[in-house]
Amino acid sequence: MVNSTISIFEKELMNNVLFDTNLLIFKACRGKLKFIFMVVLLFSLVLKSNSHSQSNNIFVGANIGVYAYNSENNNSVTEESYAFSDLVLIYGANIGLLENKLLPNELIVELQWKQSKPFEKMEIETTTLTSGGKTNEFDLSLTTFSLNLAYELDLGSSMNIAVGPTLAMFLRTISSENTEWWDFEDRLNSFGLGANIYFYIKSSNYLIGLKSIYTHSLIYDNEHRDLSNYSQDFLSVELFVNYCFEF
């Protein structure tokens, strides 16, 4: 039999250690960041040395998919909440450029937003000295903003295949709105790097295909939180449909 009670007493605020912790994490990641940045730089320089004369396209569209791998599933406490225990649906939008003029093959430069929502809410029954037990529902969601660069490979297949690096920012949010007591939001921001692969077909006006993106978070805005046993790795598989504007 377990019961919890809450009462009030005087206590000092804890010290703010945000900046020190971020610097330590950043130093630890500096080697990886340098390597990935050099790869992106070399990639860009090699591509800039070539050119051919096709038209460019701006594309706008939507994507829908799932996280084939989601590190939150290994997180014992979020798994216990059932919020991330199954495949999570993700959806979003993207805008980008299909560059054909400067390079021998196509280059995709894409800005993407995607959002995940769990199918089940986390329920917490709260008990205090001043009021009885009440149940609050919480959402656990992931929002991703990413920059995807992908260069088409010469494989001679009917479907185009492109690969490249991805830079991503994640917002991991636990929130509760419109409860009887209060609104609450616990959002962890992080910045990560990764790789992508596109399988796509380009018609005169449409860019349609499948893309898979792997990302690993390197820098966390931990804001006093203890993240010593926490990491983020995501592998998404998404279907996308874009409309192209030629210029």
Partner: protein, 102 residues
């Protein structure tokens, strides 16, 4: 390289969320044992990190554990009590708890 790092940190700070440290709060968990048992109690945040744990042998009766919430921030936590029974089996209970400033 430095520019990339500065930009990423600026983005993170710009989108930062203000989760406040807990203040003026005391939380005590009470539990009862039917017989002398090995007990493990731990508190986890939603980032898979144990922020408090204690293991001890306790006699039969009612006991309490004061949680060190003054080292924590507002948010959702999970506390787990594991009791090793005389039959050799572990009995475990996990509860979600939401800490916030008044």
């Amino acid at each position: 390289m430095r520019l990339l790092s500065v930009i990423s940190l600026l983005i993170l700070v710009g989108c930062s969320n203000s989760v406040e440290p807990l203040e003026n709060i005391q939380t005590t968990v009470y539990f009862s044992l039917a017989e002398t048992s090995d007990v493990e109690f731990y508190l986890e945040n939603t980032y898979n990190t144990k922020v408090f744990s204690v293991s001890t042998k306790l006699p039969a009766g009612t006991h309490s554990i004061d949680l060190p919430v003054d080292d924590l921030v507002e948010g959702i936590y999970f506390y787990t009590l594991v009791v090793k029974g005389v039959d050799g089996n572990n009995y475990q209970i996990t509860k979600k708890v939401y800490f916030r400033n008044a």
